[in-house]
């Protein structure tokens, strides 16, 4: 296997060294114009965060991929081949488990074969073996992260899939072995962006802060968006420039980014330590380029890896329809109550076997009990009848009865005696398959940051 060098750095114009990272959005479609613009800056490496936990447990549990399309992967590989710099992609296939990683690697292989791309590929696995977790639990090396119960052996046993969020170390190991394209399973959103800078001895605080901002591409700009962003890291500061000229990285917009999706804008925890932005300064270089300095890194006493795992809670079926007739709108509460009574008579009370909910948009669908406009209803409603049950057949049966009884439910003063619901299309009822929830959300103490994350090397 050839040993391509890690990114080489030359001095910037004024004699100081810098490392340039081009961050590419990992899902939702890469805006190509900003990718081309970014490439003109000759970045030392390309990075992409290809996944997230935000869209819920379903992707991790089912193995279904989301996020980057074949077009996106092709654009990333094309850029890598044109520039001959490393491409580091984390949380592949949206959830970063084995099926997600395998799917992404398969697309990479196929596109490369079709288009004649050649590179050294590293594939980094992030799924965690259950026995490893059982042992860690027995050794007292697991702790809950946030408001979740302590982990039990039962919870580990029940889990369908567990991934660990890898830090930068596996990426660094792969770069050290000459990898030119790295496709990794579940990673911290900073890992693919700090790996090269840390290997080159750049400041940890600045490297992590820059990574934290650019991993969301141009969300830190005004107006925010998904265009690629160039981050230039130097010894005592970093500079940010969105690659879409209409987007400006201003001191306030970059400072405000520390708020985005974070529980605390000042302290952000990573496997090996904590980023502290209490002393960070944000300045304007131009009206659309911002400069950040002063960010600090506090190393952790104990290296920890965040584990995310899911278990299956049942199966879902749902129906959805509009309501416009004023007599039905007026009486939707009574209709729901009547339908529930009928379901309970047939299937027993809601509980372990099934759950049933009516989500009434136009009244309080989004906020439920938090809705401040109590009692207000629109002239039109949209009702989602959602059922979770132990089997798909039971979910379907409960949903079918609920839907049918809502459609034909009577009430005093009813005019709409042919039907209460306007279904948007056929089918009127949908089996949505397995439903998952997070049951592992814990920190695992580790002595070796590489231990959980095996790496395969392939010549493409």
């Amino acid at each position: 296997m050839s040993t391509a060098p890690t990114p080489t750095l030359e001095a910037s114009g004024d004699g100081r060294r810098e490392i340039r990272a081009l961050a590419i959005t990992g899902f939702g479609g890469i805006p190509e114009a900003s990718l081309r613009a970014g490439m003109k800056h000759e970045p030392h490496f390309l990075g992409s965060d290809m996944g997230t936990i935000d869209f819920g447990a379903y992707y991790l549990g089912s193995g279904r991929t989301g996020g980057a399309t074949e077009r996106d992967i092709r654009l990333m590989l094309e850029a890598q081949q044109e520039l001959s710099v490393p491409l580091l992609a984390g949380t592949a296939g949206f959830a970063g488990g084995e099926p997600h990683l395998a799917h992404t690697v398969e697309v990479v292989r196929r596109l490369s074969l079709e288009r004649g791309y050649h590179f050294n590929l590293a594939v980094i696995h992030a799924e965690i073996d259950k026995q490893r977790m059982h042992d860690a639990l027995d050794a007292g090396r697991m702790r809950p992260l946030g408001p979740v119960p302590a982990l039990t052996h039962d919870a580990i046993g029940e889990s369908v899939r567990v991934v660990g969020q890898m830090g930068p170390e596996p990426f660094m190991a792969a770069l050290g072995q000459g990898a030119e394209v790295i496709v990794a399973g579940r990673s911290c959103d900073t890992s693919q962006y700090v790996a090269a800078p840390l290997m080159k001895g750049f400041d940890y605080g600045l490297a992590y802060h820059m990574a934290k901002v650019i991993e969301c591409v141009s969300i830190c700009a005004e107006p925010g968006g998904r265009d690629c962003i160039l981050g230039t890291l130097r010894d005592d500061h970093f500079v940010l420039e969105s690659q879409n000229p209409i987007r400006a990285c201003t001191p306030i917009s970059v400072a405000a980014h520390s708020l985005y999706e974070q529980p605390d804008p000042y302290y952000m925890y990573e496997p090996g330590g904590m980023l502290d932005t209490t002393s960070s300064s944000y300045e304007a270089v131009t009206e659309r380029i911002a400069r950040v300095s002063g960010s600090q890194w506090v190393p952790a006493q104990q290296y920890t890896v965040k584990l995310e795992g899911v278990r299956q809670t049942g199966y879902r079926s749902f129906a959805m329809a509009g309501i416009r007739a004023p007599d039905v709108v007026e009486n939707i509460e009574l209709i729901e109550q009547t339908v529930r009574g009928g379901i309970e008579a047939e299937y027993g009370p809601e509980g372990n076997d099934y759950r049933l909910k009516f989500v009434v948009y136009g009244r309080d669908g989004v906020l439920g009990p938090l809705e401040p406009m109590k009692g207000a209803k629109g002239h039109e409603l949209f009702v989602l009848i959602d059922v979770l049950a132990q089997t798909q057949q039971l979910a379907r049966a409960v949903c079918a009865q609920a839907k049918q009884n809502t459609m034909h439910g009577g009430f005093p003063g009813r005019l709409s005696t042919a039907g209460n619901l306007a279904f948007p299309f056929s089918p009127d009822l949908h089996d949505a398959g397995p439903v998952y929830e997070f049951n592992v959300y814990h920190l695992l103490e580790m002595d070796d940051p590489l231990e959980l994350f095996s790496i395969d090397y392939v010549e493409i």
Partner: protein
């Protein structure tokens, strides 16, 4: 009294992972930021009551670098669970929109007596 939606340029919510909701208010002027950050309506107790959450579950974090205030709270149900209605938590800031904000208390400065050292 002015409502928060009249004082803030941005009021938004989002999950910070599945178990935590975070709400941000960003202000266009230092004056607006100063009024809201000091208001009793922004105390954790008041926010907790607004959201029906225990006080221990709520943190209010001033962030002057961005003229912003962050509220972080434990989600009442995990995101994406059966009882959840908002997978990304992006539409949960509404209770803040019409929050009426008390004006800043006027500082009273005692006039010095003649001959008294200040």
């Amino acid at each position: 009294m002015p409502k928060l939606r009249d004082l803030a340029r941005i009021i938004r919510s989002k999950n910070a992972k599945p178990f935590v909701l975070t709400l941000d208010m960003l202000f266009a002027t230092r004056e607006a930021y100063d009024q809201v950050v000091a208001a009793p309506e922004l105390l954790p107790e008041a926010i907790a009551a607004l959201y029906g959450m225990p006080v221990a579950a709520v943190r209010v974090i001033p962030y002057p670098a961005a003229r912003a205030i962050k509220i972080t709270m434990h989600r009442w149900v995990p995101a994406g669970s059966f009882d959840d209605r908002d997978l990304l938590g992006a539409q949960q800031a509404v209770p803040l929109f019409d929050l009426e904000i008390s004006p800043r208390p006027i500082e009273v400065v005692e006039p010095a007596l003649e001959g008294t050292p200040r």
